[in-house]
């Protein structure tokens, strides 16, 4: 019998512990501290005079438990298999990293990757370790433990399924993340015996200059691994690419999409550009041809017709590489926010609040606020709006309706010009005694002295460059005094501590109370630079925030909500983006709880870049590209350890030893219990 970790046998020395304990128990373990021992004579207790060993069976059981535990930790095994000849090759540990970026779809590359991978797998011996990683996946395609435990036939099927899994995708090329994962895999291989042999990390990649490597910059490359790159060169084919740059002018109609047209080859190219309605597949304009000089980069514009076209697909033709010839463009949705203004002032009167509110909410940047007047509410029916602005008295019958809207999630801004408005606010919150505070006598104006910049309404001003509100004067402020027991909280306060802006949650809605009206005669607020972003921020809050961008890249799109549902325009609904994010370019219909919208996904523009990484890249990043020197003396020992480890893992004798230990412990408990019950208690009290 051999031992994998013979040093653990030293644990047998711990047998001395139960033996010593049994012998020591012959003497009393008690100790008494006393002040006048000099008047005492030695008078050995009766128990201390006994010479015989107490409970020899217990001692035997306990010693056996300790000895067997030491044996189990020493990992015994029978070395029955024939030994590997010492002159044989060293076992190799290989981690294969396959670049799955979009540029790996170029002509000839997938075939080369497949053949290189097959050749690499064929070069591995039975004792070699293998792990396979793809840049698009965070989990290994083949992990070292699976490979080690697999039989020869299982390994063949593992390699077959790995070949399919490492096919190129449409995302970017995060080589740094993949290499860090490869180092982790290498480390786990080192934990196995045979760690004298360095781990070889083989990178199968086109090594495009656009590959992400910044994550390796601060990495301390370990000694036990080195990188070997196998550069996969595409078939020499001229390539041109097309990428969406943005809209030429967003408010302009019809819209014009700007695209970047690049010739990546060293030859002249004549290419054509077609645009189709992404839904009906009808062309939206005639084909246009462009002559491109070598490495020429040109910006072109495509007019999207006024007809209801929500998305277009632009196709490039005339080059030899099809992977980057399609671009999907979704027309961004406009966020429409209905705002109801409940006040008696006219929109044309520049001395009243409504004039400024309507101008602040003018349509811009995909934002369209529709301000409704009080007239539509005079009959006791409130318009359907997400934001209500109240400036003035409210008919009593409207209060209950407004409260109901608040509970359903509406936002209400109440301009409190006096005590009546504060009473209305308290009524909406169902509290009592919101009262105006008395101003400090003699003060000509008030200013905002304390603002909660963590609050979403003021967060836009949190940067110190914008957080100065002290130049805005309020000549007719209405400082608010809240009752002691209130659900509301002050978001901003005037000098002196009274609340200036108060927010209260009512149901799922929000009531915001501004202490004072918004006429230019009352304060400088509506004329200040803070007013428009503050009010637009409130309008956006009431609509659930701005709409996300309609364009994104494969691999980088993540929804802001967990309840998103998405589907390719011609595919089934996918409900769980965290486990099945879109992996190919195309047009998606996304619903994040605010109605469906279109999202165009394209491959990263950088993937069309045909240049390869500079030759000194790995040196600059401190990546080891040569195998480290291996101590020849450690080689046989490493192989022996590997063989021993494999044998031990197969036999797992330690499990049986532990089973015996458990049985012995049960027996020991029984014997100990009986011994304790059989023994008479000894009175030791004074």
């Amino acid at each position: 019998m051999s031992l994998l970790a013979p040093l653990f046998l030293l644990g047998i020395l711990a047998v001395a512990a139960p033996i010593a304990a049994h012998f020591l128990r012959r003497r009393t373990a008690q100790r008494v501290q006393f002040s006048a021992t000099r008047f005492l004579d030695v008078s050995a207790p009766v128990a201390a005079r006994r010479r015989e060993l107490e409970h020899p069976w217990l001692l035997l059981l306990r010693a056996l438990v300790v000895a067997l535990l030491a044996l189990a930790f020493a990992r015994p095994f029978f070395s029955s298999l024939p030994e590997t000849p010492l002159s044989g090759p060293l076992p190799r540990s290989v981690v294969v990293v396959v670049d799955q970026s979009a540029s790996m779809q170029r002509n000839g590359i997938p075939d080369q990757v497949r053949s290189r991978f097959r050749a690499l797998a064929a070069s591995l011996g039975p004792a070699d370790s293998l792990a396979v990683l793809g840049t698009a996946e965070t989990t290994p395609v083949i992990d070292a433990q699976t490979w080690r435990n697999a039989t020869a036939s299982t390994r063949a099927s593992l390699l077959e399924s790995a070949e399919k899994a490492i096919a190129p995708g449409w995302g970017a090329s995060p080589l740094d993340d993949a290499l860090v994962r490869a180092l982790e895999a290498a480390e786990s291989m080192r934990e196995a015996p045979g760690d004298a042999v360095p781990v070889e990390i083989v990178l199968l990649s086109d090594l495009a200059a656009s590959a992400e490597l910044s994550g390796l910059a601060g990495l301390d490359w370990p000694d036990h691994a080195y990188l070997r790159t196998e550069t996969i060169v595409p078939t020499a084919t001229p390539n041109a690419s097309l990428h969406f740059l943005g809209w030429s002018a967003e408010s302009e109609a019809p819209r014009r999409a700007r695209l970047s047209l690049v010739n990546h080859s060293e030859t002249d190219l004549q290419v054509g550009v077609d645009a189709f309605d992404a839904v009906s597949q009808e062309p939206v304009r005639p084909t246009e041809s462009y002559a491109l000089a070598p490495r020429e980069r040109r910006t072109i514009a495509i007019q999207i017709p006024d007809t209801p076209v929500d998305a277009v697909r632009v196709e490039l033709s005339g080059d030899g590489e099809p992977f980057d010839d399609s671009v999907w463009i979704a027309v961004p949705s406009t966020l429409r926010i209905p705002v109801a203004y409940l006040g008696s002032d006219r929109a044309e009167d520049p001395r009243r609040a409504r004039f400024f509110i309507e101008r602040a909410l003018e349509s811009r940047d995909g934002f369209e606020a529709r301000v409704l007047s009080l007239d539509s509410a005079t009959d006791g029916i409130l318009p359907d709006a997400s934001l209500f602005v109240i400036n003035g008295a409210l008919q009593p019958r409207l209060v209950a309706v407004l409260r109901e809207r608040l509970e359903r999630g509406a936002h209400v801004l109440l301009l409190a010009a006096g005590a009546d408005q504060l009473t209305l606010a308290a009524e909406l919150v169902r509290e009592s005694a919101w009262t105006p505070a008395t101003l400090i006598p003699g003060s000509e104006d008030a200013r905002l002295a304390s603002i909660d910049f963590d609050h979403p309404q003021f967060a836009v001003f949190a940067d110190p460059r914008f957080s100065n509100f002290s130049h805005i004067r309020f000549w007719r402020p209405v400082p608010i005094v809240l009752p002691e027991s209130t659900h509301a909280r002050a978001v901003a306060r005037f000098e002196g501590g009274a609340a200036a802006v108060v927010e209260a949650s009512v149901g799922s809605g929000t009531l915001l109370v501004w202490g004072g009206d918004w006429t230019p005669n009352s304060s400088q607020w509506v004329l200040s630079t803070k007013f428009v972003p503050w009010l637009r921020s409130l309008a956006l809050r009431s609509a659930g925030g701005p709409l996300p961008d309609a364009q994104d890249e494969v691999g980088s799109w993540r929804s802001a909500t967990d309840t998103v549902r998405w589907q390719p325009l011609d595919g089934p609904v996918v409900a769980s983006p965290s486990t099945a994010i879109p992996s190919a370019p195309g047009l998606l219909q996304v619903d994040e709880g605010r109605g469906p919208r279109l999202l165009a996904l394209n491959h990263p523009a950088s993937e069309s870049e045909s240049r390869i990484l500079p030759s000194d890249t790995w040196v600059r990043l401190g990546v080891a590209t040569r195998p480290p020197e291996v101590d020849p003396a450690a080689v046989p020992a490493a192989r022996d350890r590997l063989r021993a480890s494999e044998l031990e893992a197969t036999q797992s004798i330690w499990r049986w030893v532990l089973l015996v230990v458990v049985l012995l412990l049960v027996l020991e408990s029984i014997v100990s219990l009986r011994t304790t019950r059989a023994g008479a208690p000894v009175s030791t009290s004074a």
């Binding site: 501290q33 009766v46 201390a48 004074a686």
Partner: protein, 311 residues
């Protein structure tokens, strides 16, 4: 002087010593003492010590009571009414043997509460009180004074003290003798378990220096009876030496040797005019102190009568 009123009930030491704050403990004891004193015609501790004092070399001869000298051939110094304050030095044993306690508290806890109560009582009477802690040498020393906050200082010193080290009463007394130039009452609070020969002469020196030495010998009841512990390895608190002892077997011999030691200590002290009050830690402190004062007063009174009798 009559003994304390029999109706006076003492404060259970376990309950008293369970009070964490030493000052509060002292106040409780002093309160009990006053109750006892008020029930008797005893007029106060300080006054009893203020009438006469034996002459010691260095005293001003102007205050020598020549009449007493003529009648008794012994020198006594008269004190004036404004010299009623007593200078009292409390010398408390902090050796490790004092850490012993068969109850929930140690001899040291008991001893320092006794010292604290005595200090509080004397300070209340505007007497000057000093404190010295000793083990193998004289440690913390607070000179005798009377001034606001002085009691607090004494109590803090007592509160901070912890039993440590072996006992060397002789060396400590010699150091104390050098420190205390002015004569006064020296109250030694110790278990006095050291061999008598080792400290006998030092006490004699202190007496010869004119100090009125009194001893509280604080012992645990278990130390007197050896009704304690079990057959085991017994470790000496001071020396750390160990020996196997079965108290059932060793009890008789222990008592003999201890009693012999106690007798020897008592006779050694009393032969030098040092009264010994042996206290066990289960005795109520207020009763112990009240009785001690009465005894002191009675002794003083008897001494004065003996002095007058020849006349």
């Amino acid at each position: 002087m009559p003994p304390p009123s029999p109706s006076l009930t003492g404060i259970e030491p376990a309950a008293l010593l369970a009070i964490g704050d030493l000052e509060l403990r002292a106040r409780v004891v002093v309160e009990g003492m006053w109750n006892g004193l008020h029930r008797s015609p005893f007029s106060g501790f300080s006054v009893e010590f203020s009438e006469y004092r034996q002459y010691v070399p260095g005293d001003d001869l102007r205050w020598l009571d020549w009449k007493v000298l003529a009648r008794t051939d012994r020198e006594y110094v008269r004190k004036f009414e404004d010299e009623t304050n007593v200078r009292c030095h409390l010398l408390v044993d902090t050796s490790r043997s004092m850490a012993f306690g068969s109850a929930s508290y140690s001899k040291f806890d008991y001893a320092r509460t006794l010292a604290a109560a005595l200090a509080a009582f004397l300070v209340q009477q505007r007497d000057m009180v000093g404190l010295a802690l000793f083990a193998d040498a004289l440690g913390t020393h607070v000179p005798a004074r009377w001034r606001p906050g002085h009691l607090r200082r004494l109590l803090l010193a007592l509160d901070a003290a912890q039993p440590s080290g072996a006992t060397d009463l002789s060396a400590s007394l010699e150091t104390a003798g050098r420190l205390w130039r002015k004569r006064g009452i020296v109250v030694i609070v110790s278990d006095l378990l050291e061999p008598v020969d080792s400290w006998e002469s030092s006490v004699a020196l202190l007496v010869a220096a004119g100090h009125d030495v009194r001893v509280f010998q604080v012992l645990d009841p278990a130390e007197l009876t050896l009704r304690y512990g079990r057959a085991a390895e017994w470790e000496d608190l001071e020396s750390g030496s160990r020996l196997l002892v079965d108290p059932e077997v060793a009890r008789e011999r222990y008592r003999e040797r201890l009693n012999s030691h106690l007798s020897k200590a008592t006779s050694a002290l009393e032969s030098r005019g040092v009264p010994v009050t042996r206290v066990t830690t289960d005795e109520p402190l207020d009763l112990v102190l009240t009785k001690w004062m009465h005894d002191a007063a009675r002794r003083r009174s008897g001494r004065a009568q003996r002095t007058r009798r020849p006349a």
